[in-house]
Amino acid sequence: MKQRKGLFITSFLVLPVALYAIMVISPFLQAFYYSMTNWTGTNPNYKFVGLDNFKRLFTNELYSVYLIPALKHNAFLLIAMPVIVIALALFFAFMLNVGGRSRGSRIRGVGGSKFYKIVFFFPQVLSVTVVGVLWGAIFRSDEYGFLNSILALVGIPTKPSGWLSDPDIVLLLVMLVMIWSSVGFYLVYFSAAMSSIPTEIYEASMLDGASRVQTFFKVTLPLLFESVQTAWIYLGIIALDAFALVFVMTPEQGGPNHSSEVLGGVMYHYFSSSKAAVACAVGVVLFFFTLTLVMVSLRATRRERVEY
């Protein structure tokens, strides 16, 4: 019997573990090694060059013109995007779950909550390229763009250098689209967490005369702390990607003039121009970026858990 059990366990694990090891674990590990070689990706001969690729990425002007803006843009997205998404999602979730109190003593959401939840969540099931093409079409700089055609109707002429061709706002527009597509998911996510908070707590705070703002900041937010923390990490990982949107939406795929460059795009650029080792080095930079994010946010937000 014991032997049979061992055989059973092995037979069930061997395929998934083998597939996972070959396709996921090994490329992750290889990326670290290749980042320290001069491998082109096509030529089988390559040698170990230590940290040269990293040095070049940061100091050689031909390389840093890609990497430095990308680092800045990802850092900007990393700081701004999660804050806005979480704030909006918390606000919506609060309104849809406990915001409708003025219509009676029972705690419930505002009218139409169900409808809003269904609509807000929908962008989450759309492919990121569909989202990118959709908003790319809205912000198009020529007369076909949705915004421009509306503006043309009221008599404002289109600017060929507007919207996505404007280096000052292109990154903000990309961020807006990221916010647009992720708020719904975190709204539903926070709603699920909010509905597990016992209603007596709300009723008690209401009896004590707490306003909705006070209830939100003194009751809801502290009890949701763990969910907010998890959301922060996931959104951070999304902010460090952003490649697909930039690839589809922006001119020159990261332009104009590198003003919407992100790390993923830089990596793709080196990968498709036969500099596989440099691409791996960018990947390693991205990895340490992600790792730092996870460590810092776990550290900074560590606190005691509220039991209820």
């Binding site: 490329p27 969540f121 492919s127 390229t129 093409v133 509306i150």
Partner: protein, 296 residues
Amino acid sequence: MQTDTRAPEKGTATTGTRKQPKSGGVLNVFSHGFLALWAIMIIVPLAWVVMTAFKSDDEIFTDPLGLPSQWHWENFTRAWEKAGIGDYFLNTVLVVGGGVALTMLLGSMAAYVLARYEFRLNKFFYLMFVAGMMFPVFLALVPLYFIVDNLGLLGTHFGLILVYTAYSLPFTVFFLAAFFKTLPHGVAEAAMIDGAGHYRLFFQVMMPMARSGLVSVAIFNIIGQWNQFLLPQVLMPGEGNNLLADGIASVAVSQRYDPDFSGLMASMVIAMIPAFVAYVIFQRQIQAGLTAGAIK
């Protein structure tokens, strides 16, 4: 964006201090207004895509907001045939069908063993799978390309199915292991006493009992794999080899030298329909499944 989020909060602060039971009125106007605004921001662009997909290129320019005066169905045939959306669509169905089936089989096998059997290295394998949720796929991308190439699977549906499955395992194992743990032990023991072996127990007792969990994870995987962009973009080089998500991207990029705006919008509608239908049908399971996976 930022100013929008603050406005309602200011409104609540002033109404809150008045401490009248009916002070919610102003706030309700604010919050309803803002909720409605966000809903419009989602519905209007999508409706615009659908309308535009039926218009002639001329009409898009002269009447961007109205209903199409004539419904140009040929935009869709053009997208399906000329832009290659039909091929992309079939490729996607094939790869996602195979990928989700294999993911569910391998994922539930691994999750089941890890959740309900004690053995050495159990914890190790579990953490190995779950850790995969944290790392950016980007890091693995370049070596993965050459691994798939060396296996002779570059540009093949089978290769992409294997890759999709491998990258879906972390979430699938994590979610299903949690689910298998909640299933009652009594039933399993009774089946064993009745003489069922480990395999029969899994396929005939545990899998049917885990149905609701399996459905949630399968839906999640369908959506996730259907929308995958990066992996097919890199692993399916060559003309006509695209899947929908990266196919749409390449149609959009080709717009720069061969503009066919209504055709692009028709391609978008074709790409959105399956997600939309699946979402409307399984809306409840999708929301429950996604959030249950994320809440510990």
